[in-house]
């Protein structure tokens, strides 16, 4: 077995570990196994990114079953995919390593092995989406990831989790059915499902994709100017926007993140919308290409306002929430706005900002949800009232929250600053000064909602002053939260890994389209 098998191992390792977890049955065994698998996945992802980053072509390809693309399914990873896989597996490994402790309050022990199996399936699904170079395969793995996340979310303690999971199931299925329609229409006009092949055939003329002697009205028309392809693009984009929770299709996200078990919100907040964003980049840049997406369709005229609305509206809603998890969830909707804003600039600087923010925000938000998990081990309530005075009772935990919060705002020395700064300078570079002003406004709103939590924890007195001696969360949990949030500090200072890789990834995405 050698390194060229890595792309497939990345996905089938967690995929086949899931049934093994089911057979292990014992909570501790299944957990240990799942941690082992997720750590190996992290190792694989890191190796892959290293190989890709130092290879001449900047991508690796793996033909499953030995069938050449486009007949078989091909795995194709470039720098962007490698980066997303790295952050995905890192979050999975950190989350899983503390999952058993966090689950104690939330899921009965005799079904932990089922929970871990589902968790691994979700990881496998998300990794599969990132690795594949085949559009239909994206759909299949999207469904593995989605179905497992519906189940994971429904494991929340309150009955609201069930409703949230059901609403997510309905919205998610509408989204994936739209994606299925889009794939079908694109396949109809090109005859292929392989992304690279699809990109190439979309620019061919109609008479070269039809058989000779077909009666077509306008033989010289390029395939991507047909109305069928236009509809395909529309359905793919809307379906992905649903999965991405792009404003105004975000309704499922706050409820889901706020009611899911904290292990699950920690994992999903950093990964699932990020992977949807990755697919959106693939569709808009790799498959349909820059000229089609931003020239012919003018997607930026739709995405820029939506992204700005997402930032402003969701941040404002976050300010009025009374539950920490809902504040963080609405903040996620706002951060998705930043991601999409970077995409909608259609410049290399904008894309770089989007990709870097994907990386940074994933770490930040997962870290913050993990802090919420830490708090939940010591007290039941997670409302602003119930965390009063927590700064003194759980000093290290709340300090971690402050670090993450500063990252959300974008204060210098945190990685959040790097991505905001890249985004603002990308906006200014292309003359969008109004957008830049609005991005800064969004950050000010973030100051307000982060401040409300900090104010409650540090400056408001608790109603009962009985338990005032420090009693932090269990050390393992705390360490995990600090690993994720500490990473955001590290990447705020040493920017080579995310920014350097993202810049080249953005360059290759732009290059494909032009």
């Amino acid at each position: 077995m050698n390194l060229e098998q890595l792309p497939i191992l990345q996905v089938i390792l967690p995929l086949l570990a899931a049934p093994c977890c089911l057979l292990l049955r014992r909570s501790r065994l299944a957990w240990g196994f799942a941690v082992l698998v997720s750590c190996s996945s992290l190792l694989i992802a890191a190796t892959q990114l290293h190989i890709i980053h130092h290879s001449a072509s900047g991508s690796i390809s793996y033909e499953i079953g030995g069938w050449a693309a486009p007949w078989g399914i091909e795995y194709r990873l470039d720098r962007l995919g490698g980066l997303v896989l790295l952050v995905l597996t890192a979050i999975a490994a950190v989350t899983l390593s503390v999952a058993r402790r966090l689950l104690q309050e939330e899921v009965p022990e005799e079904r932990h092995h089922l929970f871990f199996a589902t968790f691994l399936l979700c990881l496998a699904g998300l990794s599969g989406i990132v690795s594949t170079g085949d559009l239909f395969n994206v759909f299949v793995f999207l469904e593995i990831a989605s179905l497992s996340s519906y189940v994971l979310i429904s494991m929340g303690r309150s009955r609201r989790a069930l409703v949230a999971a059901f609403q997510y199931l309905v919205m998610g299925t509408i989204g994936s059915t739209f994606i299925l329609i889009g794939i079908g229409l694109a396949y109809m006009m090109t005859g292929t499902l392989n992304m690279a092949d699809l990109a190439q055939r979309l620019t061919m003329t109609l008479d070269s994709v039809y058989a000779e002697g077909a009666s077509i009205e306008n033989p010289a028309l390029p395939v991507n100017q047909t109305r069928t392809i236009l509809a395909a693009f529309a359905f793919l984009t809307v379906g992905l926007a649903l999965k991405l929770a792009l404003f105004p299709l975000h309704a499922w996200l706050p409820n889901a993140y706020a009611t899911a078990p904290t292990v699950v919100s920690t994992f999903l907040a950093g990964t699932s919308t990020k992977v949807a964003y990755y697919v959106l980049l693939r569709v808009t840049f790799t498959i349909f290409g820059l000229a089609f997406t931003f020239g012919q369709v003018g997607l930026q005229f739709l995405l820029t306002p939506l992204a700005i609305m997402a930032i402003l509206v969701a941040s404002t809603i976050a300010i009025y929430q009374g539950d920490i998890r809902r504040i963080l969830a609405y903040s996620s909707v706002a951060q998705i706005g930043y991601l999409v804003l970077g995409l909608s600039f259609a410049t290399q600087a904008g894309l770089t900002a989007g990709i870097v923010h994907l990386f940074n925000h994933a770490l930040m938000k997962s870290g913050l949800f993990l802090v919420v998990g830490c708090i939940a081990t010591r007290q039941a309530g997670l409302t602003l009232e119930s965390i009063r005075g927590l700064g003194r009772r759980m000093p290290l935990t709340m300090a971690a929250f402050v670090v993450g919060g500063l990252g959300l705002i974008g204060v210098p020395l945190t990685s959040g600053f790097i991505s905001k700064w890249l985004l603002v300078s990308a906006a200014l570079e292309s003359g969008r000064w109004l957008v830049a002003v609005l991005v800064v406004t969004g950050s000010l709103l973030a100051v307000v909602y982060v401040w409300r939590v900090v104010e409650a924890a540090y400056f408001l007195e608790p109603d009962d002053k009985t338990t005032s001696e420090p009693h932090d969360a269990p050390a393992g949990l705390l360490a995990a939260a600090w690993v994720l949030l500490g990473a955001t500090l590290v990447f705020g200072i040493y920017t080579d890994l995310p920014v350097g890789v993202a810049r080249e990834a953005a360059a290759s995405l732009m290059g494909v389209g032009s």
Binding site: Y150, T173, I174, T177, I181, G184
Partner: protein, 118 residues
């Protein structure tokens, strides 16, 4: 037939889609989702059909000329999609049973009302 086949399929799709987003009853929502998905399957299968074609199972070539087979690839894709569809249905129904146990209702507005009041 021209495009008529596709248009009917689109009408079916929209009937299903309407049921999903307008209906309040959770089971009705699942039924609507099923109709929506099955009509998308029809869209795929329609595009694979070749006039005068036959099912893509190889028959012995008769008198030196090969039969015309309809395109097998959409069939394969839809087989996968059907399975995904029924998996979603099973999960959705399991969730409905749990929701009914927890809330005593399967009407979405009643459930949301209870959540607001609690």
């Amino acid at each position: 037939m021209g495009l008529f086949n596709y248009w009917t399929v689109i009408v079916l799709m929209m009937v299903g889609f309407y049921t999903v987003i307008a209906r309040n009853n959770l089971i009705k929502t699942m039924i609507g989702l099923g109709i929506f998905q099955v009509s998308v399957f029809m869209l795929y299968i329609s595009m694979g059909k070749i006039a005068d074609g036959t099912a893509p199972i190889r028959v012995q070539p008769s008198a030196g000329h090969e039969a015309i087979y309809s395109n097998p690839l959409p069939h394969v894709l839809i087989l996968t999609a059907i399975v995904v569809g029924v998996a979603t249905t099973a999960l959705g129904l399991a969730l409905i049973i749990r929701i009914r146990e927890a809330y005593g209702s399967i009407e979405e507005d009643e459930i949301l009302e209870m959540d607001r009041n609690s």
